[in-house]
């Protein structure tokens, strides 16, 4: 009994710093945010009093007639019916964005990892070169890709012109614009996936492959029956994390497309940011967005884990 207490005491001591920091800096604002989403709090009505101060003179205060008040579910209704903001458009964009990015991250990462898992000359060079994008800060990458896709002065259109094709107006259409952001994000995110999957591959017992080959299995069969199942633990983790990170990936959309054309490529997080910071700051609206985003991801994570649990993975 005493030993259990001792163990728990040590455990708690070890996690305490993390718990405190997260509690104060993330949970407290989170809870406050949820509370705020049920009010109409914004920058101008957050004060109880409106005071006018004259420089070097008197200050007169009067109570704020418009002070923030509880509005129940009004914000949620407004957002979900489209009366304010563009929730459904942004949700569709976010889903397309997330699915495309994660599929490409995983697919390309897996392909490269499989290739790099063999022994051949120059392997370390390729490995280093292919992981290098990970070291590039995301806003640098965003600006670089925006520049590359620039309709007039960018290299991609320049190359198209050079070989006689028409340049593409990337940011004029919603889906081509989203495409540019997906390209940038895939470029940025593949190294992480590749490295994780490479590690996973290397932990699969090589004997299994040899045995399968002897038994006459084709490369594809080997891949499907040995590699993929062998990678499942790693895959499930990186896909879960990758989905959450991509869903909330702010800098790429914000800096590459800037929501162009006409706000049609905004995703939920950039939409929430604009609600929070552009114009009179609408804290309650931003909090509403935040709660909706969080809910979607929580549901996703819950479903994901349940599906995995059914397949025998233990989280």
């Amino acid at each position: 009994m005493r030993k259990r207490f001792d163990k728990h005491w040590y455990a708690w001591a070890m996690v305490l710093p993390t718990v405190i920091v997260l509690g104060v800096l993330v949970f407290y604002p989170l809870v406050r945010g949820v509370a705020q989403s049920f009010t109409n709090l914004n920058e101008s009505n957050q004060r109880d009093e409106i005071c006018t101060k004259i420089l070097g003179g008197a200050e007169t205060c009067k109570p704020n007639p418009d002070a923030a008040q509880f509005v129940g579910l009004d914000n949620y209704v407004d957002v979900l019916t489209g009366a304010q903001g563009d929730f459904w458009l942004q949700l569709v964009n976010t889903l397309v964005w997330t699915v495309a990015c994660v599929v490409l991250h995983y697919g390309i990462g897996l392909g490269l990892a499989v290739m790099l898992n063999r022994d051949f000359r120059g392997r370390s060079f390729y490995r280093v070169a292919l992981i290098l994008p990970w070291a590039v800060p995301s806003f640098v990458a965003a600006f670089a890709w925006r520049f590359i896709f620039d309709e007039r002065f960018g290299v991609i259109n320049g190359a198209l012109r050079a070989i006689g094709l028409d340049p593409v107006s990337w940011f004029e259409q919603r889906w081509t614009s989203l495409f540019t952001a997906i390209v940038a994000n895939v470029w940025l995110g593949v190294p992480f996936m590749m490295v994780a999957l490479l590690g996973g591959l290397q932990s699969i017992n090589g004997d299994l492959y040899e045995a399968a080959e002897i038994d006459g299995a084709s490369p594809w069969q080997r891949f499907v029956n040995i590699t993929l199942p062998g990678l499942r633990p790693v895959s499930s983790t990186v896909i879960l994390l990758g989905t959450i990170w991509t869903f909330n990936m702010f800098p790429i959309i914000y800096f590459v497309t800037r929501g162009q054309p006409a706000g049609e490529t905004e995703i939920l997080v950039t939409g929430a940011y604009r609600a929070a910071f552009e114009g009179i700051r609408d804290y309650s609206l931003a909090a509403t967005y935040g709660v909706l985003i969080l809910s979607i991801l929580v549901v996703y994570a819950g479903v994901y884990k349940r599906v995995l649990a059914k397949q025998g993975e233990v989280f």
């Binding site: 292919l130 994008p133 520049f147 620039d150």
Partner: protein, 304 residues
């Protein structure tokens, strides 16, 4: 390893086993066909080109004079000059930003590793009340968008008197990096056998000592990943840096470089030069850590 093996694919016959043995003999070389080899290299070359091209383009742009960077006719080289670097280093506060970023990143690394490692170890070894809740928390905190947290966290920092100090950034970055690293390190620690812990306990070491002297040294790859990740988080972050730091001399690199690309009249020449100088240290840290990256992420991912 049990769960990694599907229905066992083992040689079913003695002949098969003997064949396997023969394959292991050095003189039987199982070469790859030339076509496959060419295909492999071709694909990798294309992939490498895609990976390196944007970086190369930024580097090339950084040595063009300002008026040449955005031109209707695109040239690879155009009056190469180091003028942008000179302006950046002498005419702006870039050296201060660089120093600030180094300090913030270093502290984030140190504290990040400390917190993630202890938390990860506790999650791995101990079954304490609130463990599942904590694991969910680590996942949850990655789901709430940063954009919405900026103003509340600013207010908290203001109340603590930390605005315009590097401490505010370090703390904020820890909230971003620690959840993922703790999660990952937990998985990594899980692969280190508990027998070591028990042996240490028998030797009379307390939990902290076991952690510090026995388990941690074996976790080098996982620590390397944590170091890299926390460093990159602190090094590349922009939103908090802009919000919390007021005077130009206190900016970190993310905040400082942002100034060069306002919506109108961006100064691409300074941004590209800055981007190169920002990526170099990150690449450097990466080179040190990369040997361990594969191993670290593996084991961390294996057990989720």
């Amino acid at each position: 390893m049990g769960e990694l093996m599907p229905e066992a694919i083992q040689p079913a016959t003695i002949e098969g086993a003997q064949a396997l043995e023969r394959l292991r003999l050095p003189h039987v070389r199982r070469g790859r066909s030339t076509l496959a080899s060419v295909g492999l290299h071709a694909t990798l070359v294309v992939a490498t080109f895609c990976a390196l091209f944007p970086i190369a383009w930024v580097v090339l742009s950084s040595i063009k004079p300002a008026s040449e960077i955005r031109r209707s006719e695109i040239h690879v080289f155009a009056s190469p000059t180091l003028e942008n670097y000179r302006t950046l280093l002498t005419g702006t506060d870039f050296p201060y930003w660089f120093l600030n970023s180094v300090i913030v990143a270093a502290f984030t690394m140190v504290f990040g590793i400390a917190m993630s490692a202890t938390a990860g170890y506790a999650l791995s070894r101990f079954n304490f009340p609130g463990k599942r809740g904590l694991m969910w928390t680590f996942l949850l905190t990655q789901m709430f968008p940063v954009a919405i947290l900026i103003v509340p966290i600013y207010t908290i920092m203001a109340n603590l008197g930390l605005i315009d100090t590097k401490a505010s950034l370090v703390i904020a970055y820890l909230t971003v990096a620690v959840p993922f690293c703790a999660w990952m390190l937990r998985g990594y620690f899980d692969t280190i056998p508990r027998e070591l812990d028990e042996a240490a306990a028998l030797d009379g070491l307390g939990p902290y000592a076991t952690f510090w002297r026995v388990v941690l040294p074996l976790a080098r790859p996982g620590i390397a990943v944590t170091a890299f990740y926390t460093f990159l988080t602190a090094w590349a972050e922009v939103a908090y840096a802009i919000a919390f730091m007021q005077s130009s001399r206190n900016y970190t690199l993310g905040a400082g470089l942002q100034q060069f690309v306002p919506q109108f009249s961006p100064r691409w020449e300074l941004l590209t030069a800055g981007a190169v100088l920002v990526t170099l240290p990150a690449a450097l840290v990466f080179f040190f850590a990369q040997r361990h990256l594969v191993a670290g992420l593996t084991a961390g991912g294996t057990k989720g």
